[in-house]
């Protein structure tokens, strides 16, 4: 029985159903046992289509009023929330950046002030050192000048003595050579 090829007219007729793949199409509409595909049994169409439309619109209404809000709405809400969170994070980051910039500016200002204070202190110290140096130099210069003056006086005195000694020596030499004493006028003429 089952070993027959897949077209058994007897069985088909017994079942009163359309069968046989080959000679399909031209099947007369509205006849239960026409040959060809069961899908071309047009008597089945109106009932099937009517039922299908009812069921399809129920599904569409379900999708429209339940699934779309629950899925599409949720996806949107989530995306919105993620975007909002990112925007919030960005805003906070910007605030933090601004604060960091403020702090940096403050640090820079403080450093500037500190540098100025240091520079002032250094300038003042240098001024004081210069003044002290000048004072010491002036003092030393005074001492040196005094010493020089003393040396000069001593030299002058010494020079005077040397002239007297020279005159005496010249007088003595002249006396020894000439056998007579040179006059004071002669001596003065020689010396100049």
């Amino acid at each position: 029985m089952a070993m027959q090829e897949h077209q058994d007219p007897a069985a088909d007729a017994a079942h009163g159903a359309p069968a046989g793949a080959a000679e399909a199409h031209g099947a007369a509409a509205g006849h239960e046992s026409s040959g060809g595909l069961p899908q071309f049994d047009f008597a089945q169409w109106p009932g099937q289509i009517a039922w299908f439309l009812v069921i399809f619109f129920v599904i569409l209404a379900f999708v429209r009023f339940f699934v779309t809000p629950k899925l599409g709405g949720t996806i949107e809400a989530r995306d919105g929330r993620i975007e909002g969170d990112i925007a919030e994070a960005r805003r906070m980051k910007e605030a933090a950046d601004a604060e960091a910039a403020d702090a940096a500016a403050e640090i820079a200002a403080a450093r500037g002030r500190a540098q100025k204070v240091a520079a002032d202190a250094r300038a003042k110290a240098q001024g004081e050192i210069a003044a002290a140096l000048a004072e010491e130099e002036a003092k030393l210069a005074g001492v040196a000048a005094e010493a020089e003056a003393r040396i000069g006086k001593a030299r002058d005195a010494a020079m005077t003595n040397v002239q007297a000694i020279g005159a005496e020596a010249a007088e003595a030499i002249v006396e020894k050579l000439t056998g007579r004493k040179a006059t004071a006028a002669e001596l003065a003429a020689v010396r100049s």
Binding site: M1, A2, M3, Q4, E5, H6, Q7, D8, A11, D12, H15, A17, P18, A19, G20, A21, L37, P38, Q39, F40, D41, A43, Q44, W45, P46, G47, Q48, I49, A50, W51, F52, L53, I55, F56, V58, I59, L60, F62, V63, R64, F66, V67, T68, P69, K70, L71, G72, G73, T74, I75, A77, R78, R81
Partner: protein
């Protein structure tokens, strides 16, 4: 199928009455509102679908696994298709496209996955999307919704989609005809693509299944006939492989249908841009 041993790969597409419902006539068309195996599958699919999303879609900002899974499916339509193809302007159409996607997806998958019932002799599968009536309904509904939306949004100038500039008057008129044909063939291609994919895969699966049974019974008769076990086993391996392939096709065809619907919708929403 269990009570009928004859091998008939088309039997699985047969619409059979389960419960006789009201029959009425509108405009010469007879509406038989009986619950058939087709209608039962649709209702089952709708129930599975709604139960799935009722359980998973919880609207959690921090999603659990179910919510993440549901959102991933939603993202296929919302992010991958609508936002990529149409852009932000496509947002109002996401519910329809998503409904379309999950409807086709669940009906396609039921046709493959519920075949597990066949092991227990239960025929649970009826692939609703292998019914041309259904794929045509979806295609026509989608196509004409988009077409009418075009007129609502763009007014009469929407007809300019059929006009190809730079062809002259005669050439232009000829092109209008060609463009109109290529435009209005869209619902047909949408319907036939889904229908054909679902039909073909299931016919092939059914055929290989019947080979397993027929060749297996032949093999049982002993002697030289035992060799028939070999092709029977091969057919079984084919079924396993093809079932995997059918799963891919089921998901892919749902995606393709919605992707094309999105592309058509894009022409209407972003009318006049990037043609």
């Amino acid at each position: 199928m269990a009570e009928q041993p004859a091998i008939d790969p088309m039997h699985q597409f047969l619409v059979q009455k389960i419960w006789q419902g009201p029959v009425f006539e509108i405009g010469g068309i007879t509406f038989d509102m009986s619950i058939t195996n087709s209608v039962a599958s649709m209702i089952g699919g709708a129930v599975i679908l709604m139960a799935f999303f009722a359980l998973t879609a919880r609207g959690q900002i921090v999603p659990n696994r179910g919510q993440a899974f549901a959102e991933a499916i939603y993202g296929i339509v919302d992010k991958l298709l609508v936002q990529t193809i149409i852009g932000p302007a496509g947002k109002p159409y996401v519910p329809y496209l998503f409904g379309l996607f999950v409807t086709i997806l669940v009906l396609n998958l039921m046709g493959v996955l519920l075949a597990i019932g066949n092991l227990g002799g239960l025929t649970l599968t009826f692939t609703v999307t292998s019914q041309l009536a259904i794929t045509a309904t979806l295609a026509v509904l989608t196509f004409f919704s988009v077409f009418i939306l075009g007129f609502i949004k763009q007014g009469p100038k929407f007809l300019s989609i059929f006009w190809v500039p730079g062809m002259g008057v005669l050439g232009g008129i000829a092109m209008v005809l060609i463009e109109m044909i290529s435009y209005f063939v869209r619902p047909m291609t949408l319907a036939m693509r889904l229908f054909g994919n679902m039909l073909g895969g299931h016919v092939v699966l059914s055929l290989f299944g019947s080979f397993v049974v027929a060749l297996g019974i032949l093999g049982l008769s002993g002697g030289l006939s035992s060799l028939a076990f070999l092709p029977a086993a091969l057919s079984f391996v084919m079924i396993v492989g093809l079932t995997g392939l059918e799963l891919v096709v089921a998901i892919l065809q749902a995606f393709v249908f919605v992707a094309l619907a999105t592309v058509y919708l894009n022409e209407v929403v972003n009318f006049g841009h990037g043609h």
